[in-house]
Amino acid sequence: MTGIYATRIYVTAENRTEQFVQHLTEHQSRLYGYVYSLLGNHSRASDVVQETNLVLWRKIDEYDPAKPFSSWAFGIARYQVLSSLRDQGRERVLVDSELAEQLSGILEVEMDRLDDYRTPLRHCLARLDEEHRALIHQRYFREQSIADIAAALGRTSGAVKVALTRVRQKLFRCVSEQLNLNEL
């Protein structure tokens, strides 16, 4: 009896770790999106997400598989963001601490739905004209600067910026429609 019992406990602990890692990895995009939205700076957001991961890992004992992982993770991320905003130094930030508090709840809700956006986005990307899709590709995959894209197209940076903003808006409208966001 003791033997079986011990084995069962062992398996359970292992499953718990597995589950934790699975949740953590699944939540990386959401956490990054949440943190980036509040910090508005990619390299800082990367750092804060890593810190958040570390904290979550250290607190694995507090992790309760029966409860939603995301609210736990977002709670810790929120704390990390706020302390990062406090230590911002002279770096410019888009959102101040007060607004970050105001935004964090709704960001949690929306970022939690992040995976729902993927398929509609693909459909919407497919609906774009070739040229607009190329623009998105150049900007987000090639990571070309707006100035480089403009130079390649023989356009002004301003024109490319406007075009990119419009393509993005168009995509966003399209995704929103598919998700029925406006009716929620």
Binding site: S37, L99, Q102, E110, K170
Partner: protein
């Protein structure tokens, strides 16, 4: 590109447009302090604006990760993709055994952002990570090329269709040492309108109208259109099948219009010479009535302007058959030389895998790995792709055409630095990503080697955790090396990944094309492959997503991977021994 406005979104006074504009400015780094203040003001006072902001950011996040990663983007293709028969998909699965379906894979791309945990915390987690089973089973293994409903969008034709100015193509060469467009002339090269000159040797040019011309050096030919060329000096022999009737050669002030035939034209200091070996041609001169020449007829038009009848002397002009004889003699010499070199090459202890594709059996679906000592476990499984002509007539290559075409390989082991080498004939770059060699997964230390639709060579090795998003400095893109005029031409591509020097180098035809350092923290010092694909991408199960189509449109004739970064001179040597 046409940067026009999009009417449907110009809704009147959209309350969130200002917010979106401010956010864009912030991301572009051009938002001033007043803008920041305005941004905060909007959000502070308006609950709906906050919701909108959260959605917009969620959308942006997905856009960045989908469009920005490259790894997970199954972008629609320009050309309509063909469905892959189920049998092909099944072959793909069975030919690699159960390996693809048994590899645990993570259900979401974000799940691969695991490095921080793996690297910094506990190795046991890595084990845990690999113990997962995806929510659904791997029912789609090997079918990633299945076109998605979204990949066809008939409503939107490309604004400008890519075009090549080519009018003809070089199909055979003997003893020619010339350049066209600043490049050494090789077979398969498309020729654009303009002067074409050879000092010596013979070149066979096929015009896109269907006429074939053998030009004998020294000669100068101006290509005008796909059915018109001007011979300034030298000799040519033209063979014109019925479909290409009307093909015209201008020689001096003569116009030689073909009526379905084989004829020769020579231009020298003395004048122009037209001889008909078969069929009929019309010779036009100024306002004279057209002269009809029949088989065996010849005219000589001298500089003084007089015509003189003569008899055709076909042996003056190299005929296509004996030309081919010369070509094949020379070819088999080179082919034999390459074979001898390949015998010793395959014993190089640094070779991880080497496929020479020299196995013409149409239905032999096994691609032998040629490394010595022999290791059958490294043999590849051919799916879909069929043998086709290689660099030399007597050598075969494997042609990748359909979205399902691929070679599956499974390469065990762990390595450090790597080199890739391949002889590739690219017919066109149809996909955003045109695969040379891709591991199924894109985990720590796994390389992806491909060509972008822009004609840039692209190499990356996954290093988890470091450099996410815009800090990713691992993507190494060469300058544009391919354009449609190179279509059909055999190219030697090579890329070295040096983990000690933290540098990636791309080579084209033995010459350095691009060199780029990678931040040391983004270099994966341990590299590995596992289940991988040549000429396509076999993605692990991704139930929620559309499928990426990354098949190469072209042929591969030799492919090698080394466990070391080869030196520039070694790559030059491979090119020299392998060039057609």
């Amino acid at each position: 590109m046409c940067l026009r406005t999009i009417e449907s979104e110009r809704t009147v006074n959209n309350p969130f447009e200002e917010l979106e504009g401010l956010l864009s400015e912030w991301e572009a780094g051009t938002l001033d302090d007043r803008g920041v203040e305005r941004f905060r003001e909007i959000l502070r006072d308006d609950e709906a604006a906050r919701v909108h902001f959260a959605r917009l950011q969620t959308f942006n996040m997905v856009l960045m990760s989908e469009a920005g990663s490259g790894e997970s983007m199954a972008m629609p293709t320009q050309t309509q993709s063909r469905a892959v028969p189920e049998t092909v998909a099944k072959t793909a699965e069975s030919s690699v055994g159960a390996s693809t379906s048994e590899i645990a894979n993570v259900p979401d791309r974000s799940a691969r952002v695991l490095a921080f945990v793996v690297g910094a915390l506990a190795a046991s987690l890595l084990v845990a990570a690999f113990l997962w089973r995806p929510g659904r089973d791997a029912a789609f293994a090997g079918t990633d090329e299945r076109p998605s409903a979204t990949s066809v969008d008939e409503g939107n034709a490309p604004a400008s269709e890519p075009s090549s100015r080519g009018v003809a193509m070089v199909t055979q060469l003997v003893g020619v040492n010339s350049h066209a467009d600043g490049r050494a002339l090789t077979t398969g090269q498309a020729l654009v309108p303009g002067d074409f000159e050879i000092e010596r040797g013979l070149v066979q040019i096929e015009f896109f109208c269907g006429a074939t011309v053998v030009l004998e050096g020294p000669a100068q030919l101006e290509l005008v259109t796909s059915d018109l060329a001007r011979l300034s000096h030298g000799k040519l022999r033209a063979q014109v099948p019925p479909a290409a009737q009307g093909f015209t050669i201008e020689a001096d002030d003569l116009r030689v219009v073909d009526l379905g035939t084989e004829f020769g034209v020579a231009v020298s200091a003395d004048g122009a010479d037209v001889e008909v070996f078969d069929g009929e041609v019309e010779v036009h001169h100024a306002n004279d009535p057209a002269r009809l020449l029949e088989k065996g007829d010849a005219v000589m038009h001298d500089r003084g302007g007089s015509f003189e009848k003569a008899t055709a002397r076909p042996d003056r002009f190299v005929d296509i058959e004996s030309f081919h004889q010369q070509v094949s003699t020379r070819q088999s010499n080179r082919f034999e030389a390459w074979k001898r070199w390949s015998e010793s090459f395959r014993k190089d202890p640094r070779l991880i895998a080497y496929y020479d594709f020299d196995d013409p059996g149409r239905w032999n679906r096994r691609l032998p790995c040629r490394i010595e000592p022999v290791n059958r476990g490294l043999d590849g499984a051919i799916v879909g792709a069929v043998p086709s002509k290689g660099r030399w007539d007597d050598k075969s290559s494997l042609e990748f055409k359909h979205p399902g075409d691929r070679v599956r390989v499974s390469i065990p082991g762990e390595y450090r630095s790597l080199s890739f080498s391949a002889w590739v004939r690219i017919d066109s770059l149809d996909r955003w990503y045109n695969s040379l060699f891709l591991t199924d997964e894109y985990n720590e230390g796994e390389p992806h080697w491909q060509i972008l639709d822009t004609g840039q060579l692209y190499f990356s090795v996954r290093k988890q955790g470091a450099g996410t998003g815009t800090n990713n400095k691992r993507k190494v893109l060469s300058p544009v090396f391919w354009e449609p005029s190179l279509s059909g031409k055999w190219l030697h591509l090579s890329t070295t990944y040096d983990v000690d020097q933290c540098v990636v180098r791309h080579y084209l035809n033995g010459e350095l094309l691009h060199e780029q350092s990678i931040p040391p923290d983004q270099v994966a010092t341990t590299t590995r492959f596992g289940p991988s694909t040549i000429g396509n991408w076999t993605r692990p199960n991704r139930p929620d997503l559309d499928f990426a189509i990354r098949n190469l449109n072209g042929s591969i004739d030799e492919f090698a991977i080394f466990s070391e970064a080869l030196s520039a001179s070694e790559i030059q040597e491979m090119y020299d021994h392998g060039k057609p």
